[in-house]
């Protein structure tokens, strides 16, 4: 069955997108990402370390852009202007690459999205020809507005970035998914495999995560678990779950033909 995730007109067989931060070293980064099966990987744009050794390996050596779809982010940006500036640099850095992850943060303690600045940045970036996957709160109205601006995917948080608290408001996610015509991905907050499965069962098109894998005791094993959880959750969503029956059981075995007392 072909069940590709389609983002900005491109097909991906994996619905798990992963970050590349917080790993011990590049070899662990690469091993975990291979185990996750992810095809889209986020990267941050930062000042180059002037004076570093010329032969020092870089992230791009570890994850060649020919093998992965890069998703440069705007992590650490607190204004629309900074986010737009960062992604224009990313586009230059990655030879005209258009697919980006927009996130404009509200404060350093919660890293909660500043949706007003996010909307302003999204408008500028879409007009400028970027394919914008946008990190936002789980507010259904804002999510719809970001879609209407022209974002190619809307990515509400499940809970705070790096918190591992799981899905705090499945009801809002369901409203967002039901209203959306673009892929809705959960971005941020997934802590373990069951969180990922639940998000997919709700009908999310995919999940973007970093910390849950990178900070696990065994990141490579967790990456493998997340791959399976995303696939299992997706299949369960497509299969259509049985209706919930509150307060009444329904036996799985025949009620007729029971032996009687001798």
């Amino acid at each position: 069955m072909n069940d590709d995730l389609i983002i900005a007109g491109k097909n991906y067989s994996s619905r798990l997108l992963v970050g590349t931060g917080k790993y011990k070293d590049f070899s662990e980064t690469r091993a975990a990402i291979d185990a996750s099966g992810a095809q889209i990987v986020t990267v941050a744009i930062r000042r180059t370390n002037i004076g570093q050794h010329a032969g020092e390996p870089s992230l791009l050596d570890c994850l060649p852009p020919e093998e992965f779809t890069y998703l440069p982010n705007t992590a650490g940006c607190y204004s629309a202007d900074d986010a737009v500036r960062t992604l224009r640099l990313a586009r230059e850095l990655l030879d005209g690459h258009k697919l980006v992850k927009l996130e404009v943060l509200g404060d350093p303690k919660t890293l909660y999205p500043n949706v007003i600045e996010t909307i302003a940045a999204a408008k500028t970036l879409v007009k400028d020809g970027f394919d914008v996957m946008v990190y936002t709160s789980d507010d259904p109205i804002i999510a719809k507005q970001l879609e209407e601006i022209g974002c190619c995917a809307v990515m509400p948080l499940a809970s705070l970035i790096g918190s591992g608290m799981g899905i705090l408001n499945p009801w809002n996610l369901e409203i967002i998914i039901e209203n959306a015509k673009v892929p809705v991905l959960v971005d941020a907050g997934v802590g373990t495999a069951s969180d990922a499965a639940i998000a997919m069962e709700l009908g999310c098109a995919g999940i973007l995560m970093n910390t849950a894998i990178a900070v696990a005791k065994n990141p490579v094993l967790m990456a493998s678990a997340m791959k399976k959880a995303v696939e299992a959750g997706r299949e369960a969503f497509l299969a259509g779950r049985m209706p919930k029956k509150l307060y009444s059981a329904s036996p799985s075995s025949p009620v007729a033909g029971l032996i009687t007392a001798a």
Binding site: G21, R46, T48, I50, S58, L93
Partner: protein, 67 residues
Amino acid sequence: MQIFINGNIKQLYSDNVTITALVVTLNLTGKRLAIERNGEIVPRSQFDVVMLSDGDKLEIVGAVGGG
């Protein structure tokens, strides 16, 4: 002349320095990077022709791990 690279002062001992020459000086040849000069991106195709001026503020960035 004096320029600023990623917020740090850098002295250059020549008045005719292209971006390409600066990249060589900084030992960044062959690195994938993007450069902003006084708030404007300098396309890689222009590295050979853009001359630095006294007081220029450069941002030199690359891709790093992030979520």
